[in-house]
Symmetry: C2
Subunit: 330 residues, 2 copies
DNA sequence: GCTTGCGATGTGAACGCAAACAATTACACT
DNA sequence: AGTGTAATTGTTTGCGTTCACATCGCAAGC
């Protein structure tokens, strides 16, 4: 910076002013400085700036299972929004969910000097662990259900699950079976609740729940059992990947979809339109979720008086060919 | 830090020594300092450290299409390896591929003070844009074919494509059709080359190439045309998502797989084992790719005399049910 | 013509840390 | 005891910025 100042024939402070768009700099002076900057290909040193301003311009993201479509899309949305808000994004992805890992990741991020943290870790335990450090750094949770103390942005899983269940019921199915996600995830819980509640409200029996881990493999395994049960005519899967596995198992067992069994998923991953058959599902816009979460975080940083701390995004049903009317009982 | 020093009754320099594990600190002194650190919950200021050491402990990743399974997995692998090497990871994901965007992303990262950059942007244009700035910051490319001047880590697409094609040929198919990826991607080119070369070596005719954009939708569209062509008995798709779309189109057209047509993919995404039918494919371990890339980058940073600048990882064929022997011609 | 005030610029800290160098102490050996 | 060397600790300096304050010049007001 000293070099720039010398070349432009001004003081380093004036250079700083130009850099930061401070007022009271004569246009002519500004131009000279700008020219010197270009001439020397000068780059401000972000560490020095961070040191003195105490602002790193960096936000942290802690994420879990980040190879999955949902988390990856949220991260992408976050990064996009962060960039346009002038922040860098530093990621820390977790391999395991225990409180220690989460703590470690957040500590790491904090040691790096992030100004805020977004958590893509929709587990009850993770949110708990995170909310404890919210005192030192602003935190938002993304896609994390609705029970957390920290501000969050999520799809309305309850409503989405209810809509899916209702759709099947309206098609004439006596009841709807459910392949749930793994225990401990907020999504799992909310979708389970939405499903159960809808069944109960309609007076439909609430059958035993099958439980998976979001993977196609686990959906397949649930599907093998479901295929063997002649009672089942409609299944709501807690996500599309499990629905894929379920579809596969049903196909192998010679149970036509939607002829004998209707299947509905959740997420609307890009592939689900090309499953066999194309999957009816509940769309959630992960990218949008990420963007909204980041906006929330930025507001928090700016000290906006907690305008909204919980943002619920409405999901949208996407009707395709995996659901159909119940067969009339003979 | 001054507070810690005072509490421990030593100079700030000794505190610094303890922090950095410098030698020649008496165990007793070290303990006192450590105790003081804990007592005050002292956190070193990374900006100050970066300022004086000129090392940010941060690596940048520029990535494209980061919601896809491949890029997301590579990012994950990179992050994991970076963390264990003591680096933070800052991401910049691109929405578009033009040179300006790439340049902008890298500039951003550099302004932030990253010590090195990993590029997950397997486009010819991106690699070109990146290699121009390699002078100022070490760069590695991940999964980016083999034509770049920058060090890179990639799966051996040529060999993988050749193996896939050979597999189909060995099954007795007269030739193999190919659904390629979008133009401009290094993977597209290498897989295309591997396929064509194998065909030529076997004296099989080289049919017209179908071209997609990696998405299931584009595979579906290619599939509609392929289904209408009675000559086709074997198809090699440049990735699994397109294979999914292809499978769907074939199914709709009443063309059994592998009964009438064999299909092989590339990538082995977790879902492909649950396609209908389960997909034979060529596995690439994206996470491993990311990790290896990061190791390479760290070596570069450490000044290791360019031990290896191009690392090729062997892919592995995964046989499932979507491929089978060619029907004997009547 | 001499204040007064504001726009425009410069000067000297200070941010929190590590590197270089200086100083002190301990210990072994002669 | 005397000397040398290594271990241990302290002091000073500077990294590249921004901030707080000082300075300068010029135009308006009386």
């Amino acid at each position: 910076m000293a070099d720039v100042a010398k070349l432009a024939g001004v003081s380093h402070q004036t250079v700083s002013r130009v850099l930061n768009g401070a007022p009271h700099v004569r246009p002519g002076t500004r131009d000279k400085v700008l020219a010197a900057i270009r001439e020397l290909d000068y780059r401000p040193n972000s560490a020095a700036r961070a040191l003195v301003t105490r602002r790193s311009q960096t936000l942290g993201v802690v994420s879990f299972a980040s190879t999955l479509y949902g988390p990856a899309s949220m991260l992408d949305g976050i990064e996009q929004a962060a960039r346009s808000a002038g922040y860098f994004v530093s990621v820390a992805s977790l391999r395991s969910l225990d409180a220690r890992s989460v703590q470690e990741a957040v500590d790491r991020l904090r040691d790096q000097g992030v100004e805020g943290v977004a958590v893509i870790a929709p587990q009850i335990s993770a949110v708990g662990a995170v909310s404890r450090l919210s005192s030192s750094v602003p935190v938002v949770a993304v896609g994390s259900g609705s029970r957390s103390r920290v501000p969050m942005v999520a799809v309305d899983n309850l409503t989405g699950a209810a809509a899916a269940t209702r759709h099947l019921l309206d098609l004439g199915h006596g009841t709807v079976h459910h392949v749930a996600g793994p225990a401990g995830w907020l999504e799992t819980q909310d979708r389970l609740d939405g499903w159960r509640r809808t069944l109960e409200e309609s007076g439909a029996p609430v059958p035993q729940v099958y439980s998976g881990d979001w993977s196609a493999r686990s959906g397949y395994e649930a599907g093998r059992q479901i295929a063997a049960d002649p009672e089942v005519t409609a299944v709501f899967c807690a996500n599309d990947h499990m629905a894929l596995g379920l579809l596969r198992a049903l196909h192998e067992a010679g149970r036509p979809v939607p002829g004998e069994i209707s299947v509905i998923g959740f997420d609307d991953i890009p592939e689900s339109a090309y499953f066999t058959p194309p999957l009816t599902t509940v769309r959630q816009d992960f990218g949008e979720l990420g963007r909204r979460a980041l906006e929330l975080l930025v507001e928090e940083l700016a000290g906006v008086a907690h305008a909204r701390s919980h943002v619920l995004v409405a999901p949208e049903m996407v009707l395709r060919r995996s659901t159909g009317p119940a067969r009339r009982p003979a």
